[in-house]
Subunit: 381 residues, 2 copies
């Protein structure tokens, strides 16, 4: 379906930027350091209604960006969640005002470790302060303040996006009426951390990483970053999805067996590794994956205090073939929320695509979100 | 338990070597190339009985070697399968004559891509011919011929070792009375191939790989090989085993959070990556992992012919937490063997350790092997 034929698309959209925080009033990070100014790239779709009661914020995952829906001028591919967001779509831009911002530490317009450090005139590199998920949330909150949205009808995110929703709702429950958490985790397992550790090792041991100063030297750790992406990509898909898609098919044009790209699945992975280099930065990968490793909000003894005082509504979704943040992760979230006397709707959805399902057009998943958002709006903030 | 206190240990053992094949009579490989001479490193334990009817050959996995049991002079650690092989152990060296050989393409004494090419005087590197699992078997058969063992009571192997057993038994069923295949596969899945592809990519894109000529330049692709090993190691263990062993524990001596080794699981993985460098060669990793990718004996239309004419006995074992070559792989083997009218005993064993279970002292597993071997010997070859 071409973009002109798809009447449900938003059409042309633009990424805007805004500068938040000042040296006089900087962002104070979880680990005590400060950061200012912070440029934030964001997009909005639909119209904010008069009492600002129809705002839904979309939080993106590790390698996402602010461009969630519609098309950038001249682009042939839409935003990363275009199947969900648009006129008449599950997150209906005829009804909702949708905001998506590139997160702190990212590399698609928001300040991150590849940004220029105003104090040195060169890229931060590893001088950029360590980030925690709570730091990402603080920047999102400041953006909403500037957009004059005191309270979200809903915050929605998958994977790291869902972790931001969880952190936000636990810490500032008055600011969110409905927290929607998809394929996320409240605490990475040893295996989750192990995969990320190997990815970071691949990046940081690339000869072009240059202790994080590769931008100043005009090189980039492409080999390490593509290896990290290839490995992570395997964990995003179910084993069956990979088998159904590629099986043991050989490349049609390949000659004798060797150590190159003989199998279709190798070709696919190499392609995923390569295209990733065009849109992502190695330092962002390191910083944001580490924020995920350390995320563990339910280990705070007072985690339940704020949401007990101001309960909100929760929708927690998992996918049955997700082996990165599978249903056991979601159940753990639900268990802790219910312990804190929250109203939680939990659903495990069937989908063949593994962790990546949260990005896919899975009918019962999209139907669940459509119903939930419409019902939330009808009930009011 | 110290080695002197363990009366069930074989004691001091030695690796021997033998030269097989000659230029006049070389090994003809599956892909048509020839190779000679081939040095093979092997060990034996126990005594061959008078009619050579008590010989059990142990085939090792991707990164194993000929030193399966006992201690090398001065060594503090025994061979890799010492919990299975020894006096009174499940594979009882008081009853059985056990042989283990480093496989073709390996790096622990048997000819492989890091060996000197007699025609050039330098290491083969990528000039070494591509190997298939059937080539590894041909070398084992030649070794047995030299040892004057016309028929094995049993061939036993886990993972790639089990794949060699399967290949051998399908092609030369008269040479094996009992084929014991543990945690193996008759055909890697797309996910299996994908993990190996990333591992090879990490090795071959290391700046010290030098197109496979690193030995001549006196360097080695240590970073790539350790990344390959770290990643593979994650797939050898169950998610629960990693969680039980490490959870989210931090290193006791670590300071502020950062991008180094903060979590215990990171420390463990880094250690695994490092010690691997001392005992394994990057080229062997590439060659042997590729042999696994291409292994697919049941795709041969005539796979059943030889074993229908000369049926043998099969024991196929899998572990319930193995997510590398899980039970579905074993079931596929059983299905094809039963289709070829073979007598197959299949058992899925419960063990917490994932794929690595085949190396561990899992009581029902060792009991199954003990019973099976003793009964095989009592029944005769």
């Amino acid at each position: 379906m071409g973009k002109t034929a798809d009447v449900n698309n938003i059409g042309i959209v633009e990424t805007r930027t805004i500068d938040l925080f000042t040296n006089a009033n900087p962002l104070v990070l979880a680990k005590g350091e400060t950061l200012a100014p912070i440029t934030v790239a964001y997009e909005t779709y639909g119209q904010l209604n008069r009492d600002a009661s129809n705002a839904v914020m979309v939080l993106h995952a590790l390698t996402g960006d602010a461009h969630a829906a519609g098309f950038h001028e001249g682009a042939s591919r839409p935003g990363w969640w275009n199947n969900l967001i648009g006129p008449g779509k599950p997150l209906d831009t005829d009804r909702f005002f949708v905001i998506c911002a590139n997160l702190l530490g990212g590399c698609q317009g928001t300040t991150g470790p590849a940004s220029i450090n105003p104090q040195t005139g060169t890229a931060y590199g590893l001088d950029f302060p360590l980030l925690m998920v709570s730091d990402l949330v603080k920047v999102h909150r400041e953006l909403l303040k500037q957009l004059k949205i005191p309270r979200l009808l809903a915050a929605l995110g998958g994977s790291l996006g869902g972790m931001q929703v969880l952190e936000w709702a636990l810490s500032y429950p008055k600011e969110i009426a409905h927290a929607v958490i998809v394929a996320a985790s409240s605490r990475l397992t040893a295996q989750n951390i192990a995969f990320s550790a190997v990815a970071r090792r691949a990046i940081m041991s690339d000869e072009n990483f240059k202790r994080g100063q590769y931008l100043a030297e005009n090189v980039s750790p492409d080999i390490g970053l593509s290896i990290a992406r290839m490995m992570a990509h395997i964990t995003y898909l179910s084993e069956d999805a990979l088998s159904d898609k590629f099986g043991r098919e050989k490349r049609p044009d390949k000659g004798e067996p060797g150590f190159g790209i003989d199998f279709q699945v190798e070709s696919y992975l190499a392609h995923q590794g390569n295209i990733f280099l065009e849109r992502f930065d190695a330092l962002s990968y390191i910083y944001l994956s580490r924020a995920m490793d350390y995320f563990d909000p339910f280990s705070e003894p007072d985690y339940a205090d704020a949401i007990k005082a101001d309960p909100l509504n929760w929708l927690v979704l998992s996918f049955d073939t997700d082996w990165r943040f599978g249903t056991s992760h979601s159940r753990r979230i639900v268990r802790h929320l219910e312990h804190a006397r929250q109203a939680v709707t939990f659903r495990e959805l069937s989908s063949p695509w593994g962790h990546d399902s949260f990005l896919m057009e899975v009918a019962p998943y999209h139907q669940t979100l459509r119903t939930y958002f419409n019902s939330a709006l009808d009930r009011g903030v």
